[in-house]
Symmetry: C2
Subunit: 340 residues, 2 copies
DNA sequence: CCGATCCAGTCATACGTATTACCAACGGTG
DNA sequence: CACCGTTGGTAATACGTATGACTGGATCGG
């Protein structure tokens, strides 16, 4: 049966050695036990037959899968593609593989007791939006991404507070004082932290006033929240949004009220994803180092699996100034423009 | 060691039966061989101990993983989240699990010979952009999504030709005759088919003229391609884009030339992703049933794994008319409207 | 020239499961 | 009572790998 996948025993037969020798050579632990000549012969035979070790057998023997689960809230944002790439790079360097599990997902987790690739796992790397999902894997080492560093699980975070402070400073320098926050109505650390940091930074501006409206993390949700802020008396001259998609909603609200961005209203986003440059005007936002989040998170998880206690990490974002922010318009309510 | 994971033998001991009995009961093949009372006791013990079968052992024994690989080009588009959800639903119904492998990915595939969860697999479901990647898994049953139905591999496709024809008909009804195609410079069936169908449909319009400019599948690439079309003599009055992101680029090109969308220029997209409603004006596009693509693809793959020969499937898209299309402006060059 | 070392490997085994072949007890039949 | 079919289970085994225990022969020190 030439079609059947070759086993280590087939390689052994082809090389004229025993199966154990094959395993030793291919496992790299042969120095001093197997002669270089034999090792070469084994490798040649393995190559010739196209041998690939049976992962199930290895896992069974070793009791470990060298596989890590990456839980991401959805396959939606390019953001998570970068997180995956960073994590995969580090994982591969250490001989680990990654299984991606979108969560929450429309289909929910496959609860089939039969095939559940996401259960054959040594550790978990979970994005903040999958916090509660980690509870489904009790006893499995986990590292949380962009989550509360005060929690029981090790974390690798973005410095969202720093990012919000940078946005506030940028707006303050342009002259804005009344800042509205278009917030995601999601009760999770990363969003709470954004709100608290922004509020503090805005209030620290001379004469600064902070107001907040929350909605679902969608374009439509943000539009409604932004309208709430714009329609209030004494409306803000700048809207800081928790996310680039929400900024798109803010754009829509501005247009609905006949306000030009950035002439009448400045808008900022967060993340710097594809939308940021697809919009008109292009969005001033904070770029989060997604790939590094994945890489550092995986490094922390590997340390944890090795018995260590990874220190919390906080990755700074970078303010990216584009066309959606400008000085505030002259204040019409107080007749601010001289001579108007 | 209470912390160790219980095995079927532990369950057997707890229930006072043999390991084989546990396996028979939990495998559901006990009718007529094991008394209902014993079966109940086994199930109770398994529950009490929190027994979960060891997947590696099962795979080793059965020679099958009941796991399918889903290859998608990137974790970026919400589109693929829907594909995954659809596929996962069908897979779970049949006791299969899904492993997601982003491909191509910045990190490339994890070539580590040690952990490669994407190698412990029974079949592959591959998006069109991962065509060549499937070649890396010779001998593994595969179904291609949105790919050339004439190829050697079974396919489940979108009726992209129908979608393009619908767009052309819509534009034709509005009065457009000169249509530009902002095409993705990717040599793959789905894009070739889009181009061919659009060209044919436009040319079938009375006086219809089709022109094409290709660029990378990005906002910037589309902007450049669109400018090429707009700057030519006798420019198109409508731009049909291969993708919603490319439509965003067309918007930018229009703005750069001082053209209003849709007053001076109609623009259409393809896919109907998040961008379509984030843009201003909202995009007329073709909605592709992504979840159904995943579901039907998985069904086809399961049929293939079962020894069948799945018939090709073609899923129709749906024209979604929003604010980016309108009748063409009066033709200044020829003064074309009757009576003008 | 003989015992100790070392080299280059091989043998045997265990990981946890699914399944085939087997078996004991029992009730019914002729 | 000898025979047989059925009921309700058990024993044994194989999947492919990694690894600790072991071994035949060569080398070396004394």
């Amino acid at each position: 049966m030439p079609g059947a996948r070759p086993t280590s025993r087939d390689v052994a037969r082809a090389a004229g050695v025993s199966q154990s020798t094959v395993s030793l050579v291919l496992g790299g632990k042969w120095e001093g036990r197997i002669s270089p000549a034999t090792a070469g012969a084994v490798r040649a035979a393995a190559d010739r037959l196209g041998y690939r070790p049976n992962l199930a057998a290895r896992s069974l023997r070793l009791g470990t899968t060298r596989t890590v689960l990456l839980m991401i809230p959805t396959l939606s944002a390019p953001f998570f593609g970068a997180v995956h790439a960073g994590a995969a790079r580090v994982a591969a360097e250490h001989g680990f593989g990654i299984v991606v599990l979108p969560w929450p997902d429309d289909a929910g987790p496959a609860r089939s007791p039969f095939a559940a690739p996401h259960e054959a796992i040594d550790g978990i790397l979970a994005s903040s939006l999958a916090v509660e999902a980690v509870a489904r894997f009790p006893g499995t080492p986990a590292v949380m991404l962009d989550s509360d560093p005060a929690g029981p699980t090790p974390t690798v975070d973005f410095d969202v507070a720093g990012g919000m402070a940078a946005l506030a400073a940028h707006l303050g320098a342009l002259g804005h004082r009344r800042v509205g926050h278009v917030a995601a109505a999601i009760d999770q650390w990363t969003f709470r932290a954004r709100g608290e940091a922004l509020a503090a930074a805005v209030r620290a501006l001379p004469g600064g006033s902070y107001r907040r409206a929350a909605g679902p993390l969608t374009v439509g949700g943000a539009r409604a929240a932004a309208l709430g802020l714009l329609d209030a008396p004494d409306p803000p001259t700048a809207l800081v949004c928790d996310d680039d998609a929400m900024a798109a909603g803010a754009y829509k609200a501005a247009r609905a009220r006949g306000l030009a961005v950035p002439g009448d209203l400045s808008v900022t986003g967060f993340d710097d994803d594809q939308l940021a440059t697809a919009l008109e005007p292009e969005l001033t936002t904070v770029r989060l180092p997604a790939a590094e989040l994945g890489a550092r998170g995986m490094a922390a998880l590997l340390e944890l699996l090795g018995g260590g206690a990874p220190a919390p990490v906080s990755l700074p974002g970078r303010l990216v100034v584009r066309g959606s922010t400008a000085p505030p318009p002259h204040d019409r309510r107080t007749g601010g423009i001289p001579g108007a």
